[in-house]
């Protein structure tokens, strides 16, 4: 019997010197156990992806599933038995759209048709992201050509494995149907570059013409060969036509031996492709991304076309502006075979969680939601009879989770491919044996305010998460005059108090939370990623300390109500740019018609981009702070870090000097200096009177920022700090708080433990470091609670995670006397949910900001969904 959890501690994390931290190597990645030729996973909750979950055993032999629930056949006497009590067994994820493990070019985009190229020639079995995918439960991926041209290259389907000597040939999914990538829309017509494309096509009408010309010519080619073969059959000896790799592939598309999977967004181009394909007798297998699939879901279903989409990505370009998170559900209800894919090395690791978003936004059945990342995806690839579900006869591609796959809190314990363990979790940080502890009591409960007969809202019988201590069950909460007036299981009203103007909300079975505060947000400054005219976050220039974000905040941004939908009620809106001095942020609420109405606190912090210091001289690639890392976009490598740091120190010293001269002038002891708005703006921050956000990603830069804060005596707060886990003792010693994230980031080095970033909040908590969690995704601020949920998955107590997006941000902002908790006297930012605030599958039912109920589910997405739901219903009723 193999005991669970199968964990090992590499290094004791607390007793180590400053820069001693766990690392991950091929030796540590070697699974700590194997199951041999046969095994039984006993007493486990089985999610087959075909029916509701149930408890039982799963039997595996020879790499296949031989029994589900029970098994009467022969099993070897030495078959391993794994006790799965308390765990969940799910099918491995089949990621329908991946560019992982492709080397030296995803796009052969030099021509509009490159059907002859094969991703199979570029498979990189050494890509560390394969291991990280296994750690996220992925067992099969389909590697796709990019979307730079109308007809791209041929795809490859892989079974994931990770050994010491890796071969691409070992990964190839045997006999998977061959597919080819098509693409439509902005990428193909090259809309988003800096100059107009010289490559035809440049419009959507041109895209259709490419397809028409391609397949008309292919028919000619087929006719040439048909004539040749006919002549040979007649006994003649003609010279063969030229064999053309590209036309051979396109012939395969016409005869159905090569399946088409097409990148697309808008409903018009979706219809165009469906009709063009029908004209040439081509059956499209799946539409990829298909973000407006919900608009033409009926037509897709009629044409038998599958849809593989994102759960909630939107607004990164114009053709993605109508994307809605109900898309997958609407397509499925129309009869479209639907899957959720990642298109991302990062997202690939948490596709169960992505699928569960359909429970939140569309009330999808959990079995179907799970099938979207397993069985349905496999069916779209033509391998649904071999993988994707837990059924007898299928490949034993199984994943053991420590929680329900649709909870958003599920962590992979091990991943099995063809009956062999390819990943077994290693608790590199010792969080299982030495976990972070929840803070027992953060605040005292103030006395209730005096209640009066004026309008009020009374929540009754809910579980109130005050953030001050343990949640209070069966608790009432009264809101009056924009403030929380009373909280308790027994709120005493003055005898005879007239409550006729009060509204009562039955909160039994519900949870009440403080509204979340989105730190380091772009809300109001960012609309559509590819349209510069809609972006106001990034100023040019080095020292822009006097800038404030406030007057640039677009109160009508569609992102604001979308963020509100998941329970975010406030945001710290932050400037970006080159830096080092980026400008000053502001705290806003998410309900108002002008920026003045939104404003909670202006100029709350100065933001500095810390000059990047490499961890070592040889760069390892796209880690945090590196060119490709999450902060690389903002924190590019400084050519001369030492000079950059000196310049920054000099700038602050100059500001202090300027301040002294101004002060002396005010005292009448010296002449005033010439007015310099940028230096003047820096003065209170340089003097340590007001907080400075120090944006730093990698370990070396974090340490340097701490030194800077100490030497310059600025009141620093670390922002980003993805490699904080490497330097926890130094941060703890400094007392500098950390606004950490995004959690959904890839580790910066191949030697970083796969879960290092996920685990960082727990490590910060364990070390007693004050911290909050940021999201950092300007297109999806609404995912903030799920980032915090990922921290729960990797060791942060759930209540601490909730505080990290409510109370702790308020404390870092100096607004703890107003926000962040459900206590009498505080502003009434309240979120009511039917589950945990951070659970992906939970629903937000009410949102209050400053005591006023705001329409939490009226936003661009819900409006589009309602409109096209009506269309869908109309067509379905035909």
């Amino acid at each position: 019997m193999i005991r669970l959890p199968l964990l090992a501690c590499l290094l004791p994390a607390l007793a180590i010197a400053q820069t001693e931290h766990p690392i991950e190597t091929d030796a540590t990645r070697e699974p700590s156990f194997q199951v041999g030729k046969a095994c039984v996973i006993d007493n486990v909750t089985i999610h087959t992806a075909t029916r509701p979950a149930f408890d039982g055993s799963v039997y595996v032999m020879g790499g296949k599933i031989v029994g589900v629930g029970g098994y009467d056949g022969p099993m070897p006497a030495d078959a391993n038995r794994i006790d799965g009590r308390g765990y969940h067994l799910v099918p491995g994820v089949v990621d329908n759209h991946s560019h992982t493990a492709i080397e030296r070019g995803i796009n052969e985009g030099t021509l509009s048709i490159t059907a002859e190229v094969r991703i199979a020639d570029e498979v990189d079995p050494d890509d560390i992201n394969l291991y990280r995918a296994l750690a996220g439960g992925v067992t099969t991926i389909r590697q796709l050509h990019g979307s730079a041209n109308t007809i791209g290259g041929q795809d490859e389907v892989l079974k994931l494995r990770w050994g010491t000597l890796r071969r691409a040939s070992d990964l190839v999914f045997p006999n998977a149907p061959q597919g080819i990538k098509f693409a439509l829309g902005e990428n193909v017509k090259q809309s988003n570059g800096f100059r107009r494309s010289e490559r035809f096509p440049a419009t959507r009408m041109g895209v259709e013409a490419v397809l028409q010309r391609a397949f008309t010519r292919t028919r000619e080619y087929q006719a040439e060969w048909k004539a040749y073969h006919a002549a040979v059959a007649r006994g003649e000896d003609p010279a063969p036509p030229r064999k053309d790799l590209r036309l051979e592939t396109l012939s395969g598309v016409l005869d159905g031996s090569i399946l088409v999977h097409s990148h697309c967004y808008r409903s018009d181009e979706i219809l165009m492709l469906i009709r063009t394909a029908q004209q040439f007798g081509i059956q499209i297998a799946t539409l990829q991304h298909v973000l407006e699939g919900y608009k033409v879901a009926w037509e897709m279903a009629q044409a038998g076309v599958g849809g593989s989409t994102f759960s909630d990505w939107w607004s990164y370009k114009v053709e993605a502006y109508d994307a809605i998170p109900q898309n997958a559900d609407m397509m499925m209800r129309a009869g479209v075979l639907t899957s959720i894919n990642s298109d991302s090395d990062e997202m690939m690791r948490r596709l169960y969680q992505e699928a569960s978003k359909s429970l939140r936004y569309a009330n999808m059945d959990p079995v179907r939601a799970l099938a979207m990342v397993t069985l349905y995806s496999a069916q779209q690839l033509g391998i649904g009879d071999r993988v994707g579900s837990i059924e007898v006869g299928k490949d034993a591609d199984l994943v053991l989770l420590n929680a329900d796959p649709m909870s958003g809190f599920a962590r992979v314990e091990w991943t099995m491919v063809d009956g062999q363990i390819e990943f077994a979790r290693v608790d590199a940080f010792g969080l299982d044996t030495n976990p972070a502890q929840p803070t027992p009591r953060t605040l005292d409960m103030p006395p209730a305010r005096e209640l009066h007969a004026g309008p009020a809202v009374r929540f009754t019988g809910g579980t109130v998460h005050t953030m001050a201590g343990e949640p209070i069950e069966n608790c009432d909460l009264v809101v009056q005059d924009g403030r929380i007036a009373a909280v308790g299981t027994q709120i005493d009203l003055a005898p005879g108090l007239d409550t006729t103007q009060w509204t009562t909300i039955d909160a039994r079975g519900k949870h009440l939370w403080p509204g979340m505060i989105a730190m380091n947000s772009s809300l109001g400054l960012y609309e559509i990623g590819s349209v510069r005219a809609t972006l106001d976050a990034d100023e040019i220039g080095d020292n822009q300390a006097d800038l404030r974000v406030t007057p640039a905040i677009h109160a009508d941004s569609a992102h604001i109500p979308v963020a509100r939908w998941t329970g975010i009620t406030r945001a710290q809106v932050v400037p970006g740019g080159r830096g080092p001095a980026l400008g000053q942020s502001a705290v806003i609420d998410l309900a108002g018609d002008t920026w003045e109405e939104l404003l909670t606190l202006d100029r709350d912090m100065l933001h500095l981009r810390m000059p990047n210091v490499p961890n070592r001289e040889i760069k390892e690639g796209g880690g945090p702070g590196g060119p490709g890392g999450p902060f690389g976009r903002r924190g590019n490598r400084d050519r001369d870090p030492e000079k950059a740091w000196k310049d920054l120190a000099d700038l602050l010293e100059e500001a202090r000097h300027y301040g002294r001269r101004v002060h002396a002038a005010e005292d009448g002891t010296a002449a005033a200096p010439p007015f310099d708005p940028r230096l003047a703006a820096l003065v209170p921050f340089a003097l340590g009177e007001r907080p400075v956000a120090m944006h730093a990603g990698n370990a070396a830069t974090i340490l340097r920022a701490l030194k800077f804060a100490k030497e310059s005596e600025v009141k620093g707060v670390l922002y980003g700090a993805e490699e904080a886990w490497k330097v926890i003792p130094a941060i703890a010693e400094s007392g500098v708080p950390v606004v950490f994230g995004p959690l959904w980031s890839l580790p910066g080095s191949e030697f970083d433990p796969y879960d290092s970033i996920y685990s960082t909040p727990a490590l910060l908590a364990r070390a007693g470091i004050p911290f909050a969690i940021l999201n950092g995704d300007p297109e999806n601020e609404r995912n903030l609670p799920f980032h915090a949920g990922s921290a729960v998955t990797f060791g942060l107590p759930a209540e601490e995670a909730a505080r990290a997006v409510t109370l702790y941000p308020a404390q870092i902002l100096g607004l703890e006397d107003q926000l962040g908790a459900l206590l009498p006297g505080l502003r009434a930012d309240i979120v009511v949910t039917d589950g945990h605030l951070l659970d992906t599958a939970a629903h937000v039912e009410h949102v209050f900001i400053d005591g006023t109920r705001v329409p939490h589910d009226d936003n661009r997405h819900t409006r589009l969904a309602r409109r096209y739901e009506e269309r869908l219903q109309r067509l379905l009723e035909r």
Binding site: N107, G109, F200, L247
Partner: protein, 604 residues
């Protein structure tokens, strides 16, 4: 000095050289020389005649008076090394990509694969046509024991055909041993446009060989009298057919195991005979390579060597280097005595400060060890391949000779025997390149292309004393003891014949100076040559050579006028670098030049 007879011979041979097309090599007898590095190795007398090894005689053999005698008792004779994959001296022309009717891609798409978009494809190229190594580079190679190289075209999917060249200083026609040794391939293509990715290169490769086969079939049918479409004139496709027919092997550049397997796969697809060049991680696929008898030309292009965290730091603040034996490389060590307060101590102090600075990130010990382990896997690649039975040779690739030499020494410090390396660099390389008649062995009847070494070639202070290439000797004087670099030049004799090269500034000017030194160390010389095809009248001068700088004044013809030139040049690493300045009829004249000394014995 034991080599004085050679210097005298050079002076005597010169007048005769002017009367022949080719100067014949001198007959030599090298007496008492060892032919292996082992100190107890038997001694022999080598007789050279007509550029070949006439005989290998016992040590006590007495050569006749026709032979110039060279005392080899302190030397080791070893076959010349071969750089089995090099680029030095090879300047390739830009590839002519558009060889069919290109399409205006701004208004249409070509659905067919183009007939002759030759981006990355030029198998018909002969590198022999473009190889021209300069004298300094040649001398550097000879000094390193490398007297031949495979001049390998590069940078394209099918880069062309390599030439095996002898570094004899002769014209290209005399230097080329074999103008067509093998074809070369890489996953690269120069220029814009299709293909631009690894998968695109694969497709281009495949379509090319399919087209080559198709063109061959059309040609055969037409030759057989069939009424078929005429095959296009296309030398590249014709070359392609030779690979398909197995007439020419293809040396494929690949460092990772992934790329090696890709080439094996493509070779299987088209029935090609391949070798691998580069081969950094080839140990990972040693089994396949051995089984398929695929040779590997290793370029020893390792990543930067990380410090070994488990070795104590040396006095310079760096870790001691070296391998299993722990022998530190002399190159890495401080050469002079260290004193209190000297720079190494400061470095050490800096290091201490860095280590104790809580605000400086240093990687964990475990990570440093892992980096070292991964590097050692690369380092030991050659050993693992040899153990698996893979044929291994060495080449410089896109690096320089210095890197190869340094890393070869590292191999000897980490388990590879010197004798094994010598055999790989000479005999094995010659065999792989099909040149055993001219290279690779010291034996009767074989070409007299070998080196006389002062020590085991991989010992720290080993040097080539005399390099024989086809029997013609080039002498490399021993650096003065205790002095290195520029100081050594002070005491060196400049006597000999020097060719001045004026580079791109004055391509039509060719000058030779002959310097002689009498017993009183007075330096005299002559200045002759051609300018724009016109003969320069011979001029004589006296020169000084002080502190490593040669100075003299001489008259010279310059476009019909006589101009007095002041010449000044510094001697560094055997070459003179300087300029000839004067006042010409049309203004000031500045002729920058480099000069190298001609080999003794009369190279043609």
């Amino acid at each position: 000095m034991r080599l004085i007879p050679i210097a005298l011979a050079a002076a005597l041979a010169l007048p005769a050289a002017a009367q022949r097309n080719l100067t014949l090599p001198e007959p030599y007898a090298i007496t008492g020389v060892r032919m292996a590095c082992d100190k107890d190795a038997p001694r022999h007398t080598l007789l050279l005649q007509g550029g070949r090894i006439e005989a290998v005689q016992p040590e006590d053999f007495s050569p006749g008076p026709a032979y110039r005698v060279l005392d080899g008792s302190q030397l080791i004779a070893l076959p010349a090394f071969v750089d089995a994959f090099g680029r030095e001296g090879l300047t390739l022309p830009e590839n002519q990509v558009e060889q069919d009717m290109p399409l205006d891609t701004s208004e249409d798409v070509r659905v067919d694969m183009r007939l002759a978009n030759r981006k990355g494809i030029r198998p018909a190229l002969l590198s022999a046509d473009f190889w021209n190594i300069d004298a300094k580079a040649r001398e550097t190679r000879l000094k390193g024991g490398f007297s031949a190289m495979l001049a390998a075209p590069h940078g394209e999917i099918l880069s062309g055909r390599s030439a095996l060249v002898l570094l004899n200083g002769g014209a290209r026609r005399d230097a080329v041993l074999n103008p067509e040794v093998m074809g070369h391939a890489s996953f690269r293509a120069s220029g814009e446009g299709y293909p631009s990715t690894l998968m695109g290169y694969h497709a281009q490769f495949r379509q090319f060989f399919m087209d080559a086969g198709w063109q061959g079939e059309l040609a055969e049918r037409r030759a057989a009298g069939q009424d078929v479409v005429r095959a296009a004139f296309d030398p590249d496709l014709i070359e392609g057919r030779r690979y398909l027919a197995g007439e020419l092997p293809l040396l494929c550049e690949a460092d990772t195991a992934r790329d090696i397997l890709r080439w094996i796969s493509l070779a299987d697809e088209f029935g090609l005979h391949i070798g691998i060049a580069g081969g950094r991680d080839a140990w990972q696929v040693a089994g396949e390579l051995a089984q398929r008898h695929i040779p590997v030309v290793l370029t020893l292009d390792w990543s930067d060597e990380p410090d070994d965290p488990d070795k104590p730091k040396d006095k310079k603040g760096g870790r001691e280097r070296g391998g299993k034996g722990g022998a530190a490389s002399g190159e890495e060590k401080s050469e002079g005595p260290e004193t209190e307060g000297s720079k190494p101590e400061e470095t050490k102090k800096d290091e201490k400060v860095k280590e104790s600075d809580p605000y400086t990130y240093t990687e964990p010990l475990a990570l440093q060890r892992e980096r070292r382990r991964l590097w050692e896997l690369q380092r030991d690649n050659a050993l693992r391949l040899r153990e698996a039975g893979v044929q291994v040779v060495f080449g410089t690739g896109d690096g320089d000779l210095e890197r190869l030499q340094k890393n070869l020494r590292t191999l000897t410090e980490n388990g590879m025997a010197s004798a094994e390396l010598i055999q790989i660099l000479s005999e094995d390389s010659a065999r792989l390149l099909g040149a055993t008649r001219d290279l690779g062995a010291l034996a009767e009847g074989r070409a007299a292309t070998f080196n006389l070494w002062s020590d085991d070639p991989f010992a720290q202070k080993a040097r080539v004393a005399v390099a024989f290439v086809d029997g013609i000797a080039t002498r490399f004087p021993e650096p003065k003891e205790g002095k290195g670099g520029k100081d050594a030049a002070k005491d060196e004799s400049l006597a000999g014949t020097w060719d001045l090269e004026f580079g791109d500034s004055w391509p039509e000017l060719h000058v030779t100076i002959v310097l002689t030194e009498d017993e009183s160390k007075t330096l005299r010389g002559t200045w002759t040559g051609t300018n724009e095809g016109a003969q320069l009248g011979e001029r004589s001068f006296e020169a000084t050579f002080e502190e490593g700088t040669l100075r003299f004044e001489t008259d010279s013809d310059v476009r019909g006028s006589t101009v007095t030139l002041t010449v000044e040049a510094r001697l560094e690493e055997g070459s003179l670098t300087g300029s000839a300045n004067g006042a010409g009829p049309e203004g000031p004249i500045v002729f920058p030049f480099t000069a190298t000394r001609k080999p003794e014995g009369g190279a043609q």
